[in-house]
C-alpha cells in the first residue's frame, strides 16, 4: 500500500463511524416533530447563536461562552490544581511512612468512598454558594484519587533504588525529586486521570445546585425553561469540553511520562 493510501485509510477509519452516526442522527431527526428530540439541524443552528453570540449585539465579550463556559473551566482548573498539589504532597508523606500510612488509611478509604457530589450540600453550609464553594468541591472530589494513587505509587517504589539513593547519600530533596516523584509518576498520572473525570462531573453538579453562571447552570436553565434545542446544544458543548480536556491531558501525559511509555513499549516487544 502506498503512503497516500495508508493515510487515506486511517483518516477514513477515524472519521468514518462518527460521520455515519452524525448523518444518521441528522437524517432520522430531519422531519422530527417530537418536542424533546428536535432535528439535529435545529440544534446545530442554535449552537452558534446560543453560545457565541451576544444577547444584544454587544460583541463576543458578552456571549455565553465568555460568561458561562470560561468561569466553569477556570473553576475546574483551580480546584484540580489544588487537588494535584495537596494530593501529591500528602501522598508522598503518607506513602513514605509505614506508621502514618497504617494510621491514615482507613479514614482515607472512607473519605474516598463517599460519592463526591454528596459533599456539595455540606460545603454549601460552610461556604455558601459562591465560587469558593465550587472550587473546594472540585478540589475535594479530585483529591482522593490522586492522593491514594500517589500513596500506592510511593509504596511500590523499588526498595533497591531507595537503598541505592541512601548509599549515594542523596539529599532528602533530591531523593524526593529524582526517585520518589519519578518512580511514582505513572501511578500519580493514573490518579490524575481519574480525578479529571470526577472534576468535570463536579464542575457541572456544583453549578446545578446553585449558581448564577456556568455551563451546568445554563444547561439546567434551558431544560427548566423548555428551551430544548438550546439544551441539546449545551449537552454537546459539555461533551466537547470533556473531550478537549482529555486530549490536553493526554498531551501532557505523553510529555511527562515519555520515558515510562517508551520503557513499557520496549518491554512489550514494540507492540
Amino acid at each position: 500500500m502506498s503512503d497516500a493510501a495508508k493515510v487515506l485509510r486511517s483518516v477514513l477509519l477515524t472519521v468514518g463511524l462518527p460521520l455515519v452516526i452524525l448523518v444518521a442522527w441528522w437524517v432520522l431527526t430531519a422531519n422530527s416533530t417530537s418536542y424533546f428530540n428536535p432535528p439535529l439541524r435545529t440544534i446545530v443552528g442554535t449552537f452558534g447563536e446560543t453560545w457565541f453570540a451576544a444577547p444584544s449585539g454587544e460583541g463576543f465579550g458578552e456571549s455565553r461562552f465568555v460568561h458561562d463556559v470560561v468561569p466553569s473551566v477556570l473553576r475546574l482548573l483551580s480546584g484540580y490544581s489544588v487537588a494535584v498539589v495537596v494530593g501529591v504532597t500528602l501522598g508522598v508523606a503518607i506513602g513514605s511512612s509505614r506508621a502514618l500510612r497504617a494510621y491514615a488509611e482507613p479514614v482515607l478509604e472512607f473519605f474516598r468512598a463517599i460519592p463526591p457530589p454528596v459533599m456539595v450540600p455540606i460545603l454549601m453550609l460552610f461556604l455558601g454558594i459562591g465560587t469558593s464553594m465550587k472550587i473546594v468541591v472540585i478540589a475535594i472530589g479530585c483529591l482522593w484519587p490522586i492522593l491514594l494513587n500517589t500513596v500506592e505509587g510511593v509504596r511500590g517504589l523499588d526498595p533497591v533504588l531507595r537503598d541505592t539513593a541512601r548509599a549515594y547519600r542523596l539529599g532528602r530533596v533530591a531523593t524526593v525529586r529524582h526517585l520518589v516523584l519519578r518512580g511514582a509518576s505513572p501511578q500519580i498520572v493514573t490518579g490524575a486521570r481519574q480525578a479529571l473525570s470526577v472534576g468535570i462531573i463536579l464542575m457541572v453538579i456544583s453549578e446545578m445546585f446553585a449558581a448564577k453562571d456556568g455551563l451546568g447552570f445554563s444547561i439546567v436553565q434551558f431544560q427548566r425553561s423548555f428551551a430544548i434545542p438550546e439544551m441539546w446544544s449545551g449537552v454537546i458543548l459539555l461533551g466537547v469540553v470533556g473531550v478537549l480536556l482529555s486530549l490536553v491531558f493526554r498531551a501532557v501525559t505523553n510529555a511527562v511520562l515519555g520515558w515510562y511509555l517508551g520503557y513499557r513499549q520496549s518491554q512489550h516487544g514494540g507492540a
Binding site: 463511524l17 462518527p18 497504617a102 463517599i114 454528596v118 500506592e152 468535570i200 457541572v204 451546568g216
Partner: protein
Amino acid sequence: MNRVSGRRTPAWALGLAGVATLLLVVEIGPRLGIVDARFLPPTSQILAALADRLGMPEFWTALGQTLTTWVTGLAISLVTGVVLGVVIGSVPVLRAVTASTIEFLRPVPSVALIPVAVLLYGTGMASTLLLVVYASFWQVLVQVLSGVQDVDPVASDTARSYRFSPLTRIRTVVWPTTLPYAMTGLRLAASVALILTVTGELLIGTPGIGKLLGIAQSSGAVASMYAYVVVAGLLGVAVNVLARVLESRALFWHPSVRGEVAA
C-alpha cells in the same frame, strides 16, 4: 501488611487510632466552637441521627432502592461492556472503525445527560439508570478492549492452527487473558456506578438515599444530612471491599493479581 513485626504497633491498631482521632476531632471541634455546630454537629449527634434513621422503615426502603438502581445499572453495563468488548476486540476491522468513536464518547461527562434523562424519563429510576449505565459502561468496555488486545499472539496462533472454533478460542484463550482486565473494569465501574446512583437521586430526585439526603438538606436537618453522608460513605467502602474480594476470588490463579491494578 505481613511485614509488620511483633515489636511494632500492628497496622490495624494504628488504623483504629486514625478512625478514633477523626471521631474525636469531629466531637470536640464543634463543642469548643472551633467549627460552627450548626454546620458540623458533633460526632455523638451525627451518630444519634444515624441510629434514628436505622430505626425507620423509609430508610431501609431507600437503601434498597439505591442498591437496586446500582446493581441493575452495573449489571447492564457489565454485560454489554464485556460482550461488546470481546466482539469489537476480536475483530480488527471493528476495532479500527470504532476506536475514534469510543475515544470521543468516553470522556463525555455522564452528568451532561441529566437534563436529557429528566426530559425523557422524568424522575423515575430509568433516569438515574441512564446516567449510571453511561458512566460505568465505558470503564468496563475500555478495560475489556485492552484485555483482548493483550492476548499472547503465540497462544492465539496455536489455537487457530489447532482449528479451535471461535467460541472455544474466546473461552480458552481470550477470556483468561481478559478476565483480570474485566475485573479491574468491574471494580472501577462499581464505584462509579454508586457515585452516579447517589448523584442521580440527589439531583433528579429518584427515590433512594440521595433523595433523603436532599430532603434533609432542604429542611435544614444538618445532623441527619451528615448521617446520610456517612451511610453513603460506608456504602462506598462496602462496594470497594466487595469488588476487591470478588477480584481476588475470580483471579486466585493469576500470577500477578497485584500488578494489574494500575495498568
